[in-house]
Structures are given as structure tokens and as C-alpha cells.
Symmetry: C2
Subunit: 290 residues, 2 copies
């Protein structure tokens, strides 16, 4: 609960700055629509959990990093849903941003969220100047070219995308920003946390592929069977359902094993295991339990 409150309050504060300014109201509303109500807030919760495990020495910086990561994630969803990509009318059980506000404001809402993420992070860390550049470059590496989620999405326009790299960039990179950034904000060693983020990101991507393959739109809150429809590389397509479930379990085990020694290592290992159970779609509970 504490983690959720820190994340939601920080996101709300960022949007309050937007609303208090003299910008166009429909664009502000489109940005708000993209941020609230949120999904599972998996990445910012992971970022804060790592910061706590490392001693949470700069709570304001950790919270700002967590919120910035979530804003980047929401921005990527807005752009990925556009007609020229997934053409998804539904997101989190509601109209996607372009369905509700039109394509121009969806493009701009994504742009605005990317910029807001950076700005809020810089504002919140200005009082600890040594942290600003390391946190911002940790964030941008997870988002941009050549190795972040923008790069990952770009592979969908290539004729023969390398599956591992595609998943590392499209999903793993922002999970790495979450673990490395949480450690950095708390005064820990970000390098030691890269492997944890990388494994959890890949696990999450496999879980998403499974969800896409076996769930229906009503329970997922978004269009399903999109990977096949868009000819996207997918772990399920490559490994089959039971192979993908085994891969998911293996990746979570590797992530847990990679958690470095730190004050809260034991707590974090339990948390990751508990969260991982929820990643497997309900329809696959039997396969997962086997």
C-alpha cells in the first residue's frame, strides 16, 4: 500500500503541474487518461521495492524515478495503440487515448508524457545534483534508441527481427531502468541490479505473450491475439504454451537468484516470487502448477 501511495501521489503531482499551466485542456485530459487509473504499476513498484531493499536513502529520488518510469511506460502504450501500430481501441478496459481523443492528441499525449517524466525527475532530484545525470541516463537508456523500448518497438518494422533482442529492448530495458534506478536512488550499485531487471523484464514479456495467446479480451482489458494478427515475434509462437510457461518460471528463478546482497534482499526475493505467481494467466494455472 505504501508503495502504491508514493507512486500515485507522485504521478498526481506531475499532472497537477500540467493542469495548473496554460496549456490546451484536451491535451492535458488525454495525458491524464493515459496515466489514471493505472494498470498494475509493475515497473514503478519494482523500482521502489529495490530502493527499499537497498535502504531507501533518498526516498524523493526513488519515488521520482519510479513515477518517471511509469510515465514512460504509459507514453509507450499510447503510441503503441495508435492505428499505425496495434490499432487498439481498448486499453485497461476503457477506450485507448486515440479512441477517446483522436490521433493528434494521442501522438502529443505520448510526447508530453515522455517530456513530463524527465522534467519531474529533474525537478525532484535538483537538490541532490550528483544523482540527476545518472538517474536521467538510466531512464533514457531504458526508453530510447539504441537499446530502450523505442528501439524494441522499432524492430516491428524490420523484416526479420531477432527475438531475444526485440524482447530485451521492448520490455527488458525499462525493467532494468527500474531495478538499476531504484538502487541508484538509494545509494546502491546500479550495475549489480541489471541482471535482476533483465530477467524480470523477459519474464514479464513471456507472461504478456501467454496472456495474449490464451485470454479473451474481456478479462485482459485489451484486444488479444494481437501477436499472431500483427505477425509479431512471440515466445508462445516459438516455444508453444507449455514451453513458454516453463521459460517464464525459469526466468523468475534466475531473477531471484540474481538479487545481490543488500539489507532487504530476503524480503525482495519473497516479493518477486509472490508477484511471479500472478503473472501466469488464470487459464494456465494447471500448466504452471505442473
Amino acid at each position: 500500500m505504501e508503495l502504491s501511495r508514493r507512486i500515485e501521489d507522485e504521478l498526481a503531482a506531475a499532472m497537477e503541474r500540467v493542469d495548473a499551466g496554460s496549456g490546451p485542456p484536451a491535451l492535458a485530459a488525454a495525458m491524464r487518461h493515459a496515466l489514471f487509473p493505472g494498470g498494475a504499476r509493475v515497473r514503478p513498484r519494482l523500482c521502489l521495492a529495490v530502493a527499499l531493499a537497498c535502504g531507501d536513502r533518498n526516498p524523493a529520488a526513488a519515488t521520482a524515478m519510479a513515477a518517471a518510469i511509469e510515465m514512460m511506460h504509459c507514453a509507450s502504450l499510447v503510441h503503441d495503440d495508435l492505428p499505425c501500430f496495434d490499432d487498439a481501441d481498448i486499453r485497461r478496459g476503457r477506450p485507448s487515448v486515440h479512441s477517446a481523443y483522436g490521433q493528434p492528441l494521442a501522438v502529443l499525449a505520448g510526447d508530453g508524457l515522455i517530456v513530463l517524466a524527465v522534467e519531474q525527475l529533474a525537478l525532484r532530484t535538483a537538490a541532490t545534483p550528483a544523482l540527476v545525470a545518472p538517474l536521467i541516463t538510466t531512464l533514457t537508456r531504458g526508453v530510447g534508441m539504441p537499446e530502450g523500448i523505442v528501439a524494441g518497438q522499432g524492430w516491428e518494422s524490420e523484416p526479420d527481427p531477432p527475438l531475444a533482442r526485440y524482447h530485451e529492448q521492448k520490455t527488458g530495458a525499462l525493467f532494468i531502468a527500474a531495478t538499476a534506478g531504484g538502487a541508484l536512488a538509494a545509494g546502491g550499485d546500479p550495475e549489480a541490479w541489471i541482471a535482476v531487471g533483465a530477467r524480470l523484464g523477459l519474464a514479464y514479456q513471456v507472461a504478456d505473450d501467454l496472456l495474449d495467446a490464451v485470454s479473451d479480451a474481456a478479462s485482459a482489458g485489451k484486444p488479444c491475439a494481437q501477436d499472431g494478427a500483427h505477425h509479431r515475434p512471440s515466445a508462445v509462437g516459438r516455444l508453444g504454451v507449455s514451453g513458454a510457461v516453463a521459460r517464464l518460471r525459469g526466468l523468475v528463478g534466475e531473477a531471484v537468484a540474481a538479487i545481490p546482497d543488500c539489507p532487504g534482499a530476503g524480503m525482495l526475493r519473497e516479493l518477486v516470487k509472490a508477484q511471479a505467481v500472478r503473472l501466469v494467466p488464470a487459464a494456465l494455472a494447471d500448466v504452471a502448477a505442473a
Copy 2:
């Protein structure tokens, strides 16, 4: 010449980092297409000219800020050219990014350039930590919501956009980032330079409206008469051609008068006046000389 070299080298260095990574090659090519060859590089030249006028105490920071501003400008052009906005097939006399690479890579190229701008600025200023947050927030204020170029573009989706605020945000905001950021990088007072950037931004917008209204596509290197076609607010539509020319000259005079005392104030005043002459489209030289 020296200013141009600093800008082009910095932009090239940023793109070299992108090319050296493991991202999708077509997206890297689309980003390069958006950056090179450039237009007049008006904003980064202004940023460096202000830094020089203020003593250019941190040349690396000033150059990074100038290049970051140009990357943000190029990103905005890529997104503004998309079919859902201006639907412009031509930019700088060549195919626009979406014409050459398709809409998905154009959306991602814009996103990638926004992130690259911030990342390059943070990397280059990491050695002067006190400058990082002020420069980044000066940049983001000029780009994002609620008062930057993204906000300005957002007004085009509102039923009755306020003309002055639309122009302040769509064009003025990034010029303010250029003057305030150049001063900040050089150890000057950014507040003292806001009025100069604001006036020059408005002057440039009026010049662009004039160009749009009276030039043909061949000499402008992009589609013209777009303001009328898209029902956008325009200074020419509101003031007529000769009224807009008078407004342009008044704004340049105000900008020159607003230049604060600094080691290179005299040089900068002459430079702004010389540049301003070029802003008036050739077809209007007689009106401007009147």
C-alpha cells in the same frame, strides 16, 4: 562557421552513439534523416550566440544544450508532418520522415529524438552536476506540457485557440529555452534572457506565417498555404501581409532592445539584426523595406 561546426559535431556524436548500439537500423536511419541535412539551425545558433555573448564559460554544456534544442525541434517537425497533423510529404526539399520510412518509424523517430536530446544533454553535463537539472528543466519547459511546443501543437485540436498563447507555446517556448539555456550554460542569469527568446520566437512565427502565405513550395522546400488549408490561426490571416511584416519588424526591435548587458551584447545585437533581414521572404522585400 564555428557555431555551425559545434552544432553539427554534437548532433553527429549523438547519432554515432545510436548507430553504435544494437537497435533496429531503419529506425536509426529515420532519426538521421530527421536531423541531417539540417535547416537553418536557427535555435541552436541562437543558443550558442547567447552563450558566447555571456562569456561561454562551459562550452561543452552550451553546445549540448544547443544540440538538444535542435533535436527537440527536429522531433517536433517529424510528428507535425504526420498525416494526422499537416500530412506533409516534403520537408527541407526531401521526403518527410513518414514519406520515406512509414508512419510507425516516424512516430518512433520523433520519440527517439526527444529521448536522445535529454540523454545527450545529461551525458555531456554530468561533469558539472549543478548544471544538469537547470538545463534539463529549461529544455523540457520549452518542449512539453503545459507551456512548450507540444502544448502549442495541442491548441490545433481545440475549437477556439487563443492566437497569442498558441504562438508563444508553439514557437516562442523553444526560443526561450535557447536564450535562457545559452545564458545558463555560460554562467549567466537565464531569467534576464527570457524576453529576448520570447520576442525572437514570435518574430520567427510571424516570418513563418508570411513564408507560408506568399511563397511557393519549390522555394520553401515544404508544402505552403498550409495554415489556410488546415484552418490554423495565422498572423497573416489576422493582420494581413503588410500588417504581419510590420509586426515582425517590431518584434525584432523589441528583442534587440531586451538583450541584457553582457560582454558580447553589442555583437549579439548586430547578429540578431542581420539575421532578422533574412526572415522576410524574398517576395516581400519591398514591403519590408518600406
